[in-house]
């Protein structure tokens, strides 16, 4: 009980202390967008008959006719009221766009992270146990391959092989086959929604659609995770408590899993948190290649057309997620190693 309350207190304190950073991100993005070259009003007024009048109209609509400090104040006011503005690229309120697209990105990232962890941890452990042998070299080779092939290349290759040549994968567009009916939206995570609706055929369709993009993303992050696992495993295998456990004659599997791996997971957890946050933002290319309706490709489109509101909304969202992820890692840390939560 007391551990729970200290954890909650810690989490609360951590969260409160991250608020100034969020505010800073807010103001910084706002100013950054305004100093970038390119006038969004001119860009959007690109119809065949668009003249000065139309440009002025869009500028006014976007609130760009006001001085920057006033724009900032209005923007902060809007944020306070939960209004992130409206995207000109999609024509929808940014909040609605993000809300409908975030689950897609999260579902993809979670799946990819899961695949990556399930691959990377055994690989890392194997490499650490057979340090210097061919297993170690093979793992290093796989890691190097994963990191050096850019995601859009591996994505297109996977599509070419599994969709175009072999015909095993469904067509690589979006989250579910276009002819499949969607489940009623409960969480926005298709796998969960299909399961809730009891539509297992739909669930399979959504899962099949998820495999290639998730693998593409996982391929890219296996390397850091496997390397960290390997290093942490080596450190803990060489430590006193493992030596003690071994000398006591405990079964090797128990020594490796319970004593070595559990202690080695701490740094892996940290890296996984960071990897998750970066993946969420950095999977633009994967989302583009697989027409995945996620937040990253949304923000990129907006950025290319100087559409301020979605970019600002996206950065704010990413910053908030970063805070939440750090918080979660922190709490998990406390559970994995109780010494951490002692103030």
């Amino acid at each position: 009980m007391s551990q729970l309350s200290t954890t909650a207190k810690r989490a609360g304190w951590r969260f409160a202390s991250s608020l100034p950073a969020l505010f800073g991100v807010l103001v910084f993005t706002f100013l950054l967008m305004r100093v970038l070259p390119g006038d969004p009003a001119v860009f959007f007024a690109s119809g065949p008959s668009a003249g000065k009048e139309e440009i002025e109209m869009i500028r006014k609509q976007m609130g760009l006719d006001k001085p920057v400090p006033e724009q900032l104040l209005r923007y902060l006011g809007d944020i306070g009221a939960g209004n992130l503005g409206r995207s000109l690229t999609t024509g929808q309120p940014v909040l609605a766009d993000l809300r409908s697209r975030l689950p897609a990105s999260l579902e993809l990232t979670f799946s990819a992270l899961l695949i990556a962890l399930l691959t990377a941890i055994p690989l890392g452990v194997a490499a650490a146990l057979r340090q210097g042998s061919w297993v170690d070299h093979l793992v290093r080779f796989i890691c190097a391959l994963g990191v050096c092939v850019p995601t859009f290349v591996s994505g297109l290759l996977l599509i070419y092989a599994f969709y175009y040549l072999l015909g095993l994968a469904p067509d690589p567009t979006g989250r579910v086959d276009i002819f499949t009916s969607l489940p009623p939206r409960a969480t926005g995570f298709l796998l969960i929604d299909f399961a809730l609706a009891g539509d297992w055929e739909g669930w399979r369709a959504a899962a099949a659609q998820l495999v290639l993009p998730a693998m593409t993303m996982a391929l890219f992050v296996v390397a850091p995770l496997a390397r960290i696992t390997r290093a942490a495993m080596l450190a803990s295998l060489g430590s006193d408590f493992v030596r003690t456990a071994r000398s006591l004659g405990l079964p090797p599997a128990k020594v490796i899993v319970t004593y070595a791996l559990r202690n080695a997971l701490l740094p892996v957890l940290t890296i996984a948190g960071i990897v998750f946050s970066t993946m969420l933002g950095a999977n633009v290319l994967v989302e583009k290649v697989f027409s995945w309706p996620g937040v990253a490709s949304y923000a990129l489109d907006a950025l290319l057309s100087s559409d301020y509101a979605p970019v600002q909304g996206f950065v704010l969202l990413m910053a908030s997620i970063f805070v939440v992820v750090n918080l979660t890692v922190d709490v998990l840390y406390g559970i994995a190693d109780p010494r951490v939560s002692v103030e």
Partner: protein
């Protein structure tokens, strides 16, 4: 929200039907893949994408639509021929000032309300009054004020023009003057938004061939056929029961989908993919040179050294046209270079653009450059949009290489689209490539919109008294012989001044399943799905 719910219900119903029925529905469904997004249901909203224009042609009717004609064996829209849509017939008074439309009596909006002259009046008033895109377009057809539109009776409608204008009817057939269900729209209007701009952006109030089933901007739009629609040429509803337009950003994936037969049609593939698919011969590929578009190399004619005609002509003589055409478009399009004009005068005047008598001649280029006072050349930048990088990048590299041979050092600048638009609008780009499109590609329209005044679309910033005068006169010239004579003068003058160098008209490659029929190249460079059917 309710659209979503309906879509869910509809798709659940669909899913519950037996398998043969599903296979059937696949045959009656057209899946269209595109790289861009539909961002509004009302084409009038500033910022509308071309895909949104395409959609509005399906969900809304206009008074008229363009007919079609054959150009080099391909079906394209015909600027001078109209087919009835909501108007059953129209008559133009002998003095050309009054157009009277007889409306169809059987036309109904999607909610069942009959279409009346009141709806037409409200819609056209909106197009010329509200802060919408239609305003700027319709004035090119002398349609500027609600006073010009009159309801005679429930099914008769009159348009009055201040001067006879060749483009008045054509302007009523473009995407902006769509006819709204005025009762429905008015019920959604507010004091600040009397024309229901906000509501119509996300809802349709039309009478068109298709009804929106679901609309996810940037992802998919699903349309259901309107069974009561009979405004097509064959007096029956459109052929496809459902149309799915899906945004697929990756061009290679779009090509794969069409090739595998998972998608039925795409018009915006990379030139390489289109060429490749054509070679494989499994699909139907219809390449139509975009006869209302031009890709050109432009200069700012007000900015030294491009304010000198000799410099512009020197560059025109130094461009490696053939190599550029092959590298950028794989030769898919219609070249606008390499013509021979016997007496130095333009051979035709009814049309623009026409092929220019320019060819690569470095000795001549060097001579012109020396005459301009730059025997050693100069340094400049050549800019293009990131969005056009696929074609502009190889082109720019070849241009740079060729110009270096006559001493012009070129620094290539690849600019984000928004930045490029801004710089062009502020007239700050010296030397660049751009593409233009005219919905209504008449000769005078091109000259009036792209070669006159301080507007953004006057890319070369040319300010020539003669061009201005002739183009404005041509607009209201009813005598076709005189019109052609003016055009001949304009085309000749264009070549003499060389404000910019037309390069080519890129092809629109429509790649489709072999069973799809009826494709017509349209003015807005989108597919009019009402034309299509499956054999």
């Amino acid at each position: 929200m309710s659209i979503l719910r309906t879509a869910c219900l509809a798709s659940m119903l669909l899913a519950s039907t037996a398998l043969p029925a599903l296979a059937q529905s696949r045959a009656e469904t057209l899946r269209h893949v595109t790289g861009a997004a539909i961002n509004t249901l009302d084409p009038n909203i500033p910022g509308s994408t071309r895909e949104a224009f395409g959609l509005s042609l399906l969900t809304y009717d206009r008074l008229l639509s363009f007919g079609k004609k054959q150009l080099d064996g391909k079906w394209v829209f015909d600027l001078d021929k109209f087919q009835p849509e909501l108007a059953e017939s129209y008559t133009v008074s002998p003095d050309g000032l009054k157009i009277t439309f007889k409306l169809r009596k059987d036309a109904k909006f999607h909610d069942g309300t009959p279409v009346t002259a009141e709806d037409v009046k409200w819609s056209l008033d909106r197009a010329v009054t509200a802060n919408v895109l239609g305003k700027g377009q319709l004035l090119t057809g002398s349609l500027t004020s609600p006073d010009q539109f009159k309801v005679v009776d429930a099914h008769t409608f009159e348009v009055t023009l201040p001067k006879p204008d060749k483009l008045a009817l054509a302007n009523l057939a473009v995407v902006y003057p769509v006819i709204f269900n005025s009762k429905l729209a008015k019920s959604k209007a507010t004091a600040e938004d009397p024309w229901a701009l906000a509501w119509l952006k996300e809802n349709t109030a039309g009478s068109g061939a298709y009804i929106i089933e679901s609309f996810k901007p940037g992802e998919t739009t699903i349309l259901r056929r309107n069974p009561d629609w009979n405004r097509g040429s064959a007096e029956k509803p459109a052929a496809f029961k459902r149309i799915i337009t899906q945004t697929i950003p990756e061009a290679a994936t779009r090509a794969n989908l069409v090739e595998k037969g998972d998608a039925d049609i795409a018009i915006d593939l990379q030139a390489t993919d289109a060429a490749d698919l054509e070679k494989k011969g499994k699909l139907k590929v219809i390449s139509t040179p975009q006869y209302n578009a031009i890709t050109f190399v432009s200069f700012n004619n007000q900015m030294p050294p491009f304010d000198k005609i000799e410099v512009r002509k020197a560059i025109a003589a130094a461009l490696p046209y053939e190599d550029m055409f092959k590298a950028a478009l794989f030769g898919r399009g219609k070249p606008l270079y390499g013509a021979t004009w016997a007496d130095g005068k333009a051979p035709t005047g009814e049309t623009f653009p026409i092929a220019q008598p320019v060819k690569t001649d470095l000795a001549e280029a060097k001579k012109l450059l020396t005459a301009a006072g730059f025997p050693d050349g100069f340094s400049t930048t050549f800019s293009f949009n990131v969005g056009q990088a696929g074609t502009a990048e190889p082109m720019a590299a070849l241009l740079k290489e060729s110009l270096a041979k006559i001493g012009i050092k070129v620094d290539i600048q690849k600019l984000p689209d928004a930045q490029m638009s801004t710089l062009i609008n502020e007239k700050k780009v010296p030397f660049f490539t751009e593409g233009i499109v005219a919905w209504l590609p008449s000769m005078d329209y091109f000259y009036r919109n792209f070669y006159i005044g301080p507007i953004r679309w006057n890319y070369s910033s040319i300010n020539d008294e003669k061009i201005t005068e002739w183009a404005q006169t041509a607009r209201f010239e009813p005598d076709m012989a005189k019109y052609a004579a003016l055009g001949k003068e304009l085309n000749t003058r264009h070549f003499e001044l060389m404000p910019q160098i037309p390069l080519w008209q890129p092809s629109q490659d429509a790649v489709m399943a072999p069973s799809i029929e009826g494709y017509v190249y349209q003015f807005h460079r989108q597919i009019d799905f009402r034309d299509l059917s499956r054999k």
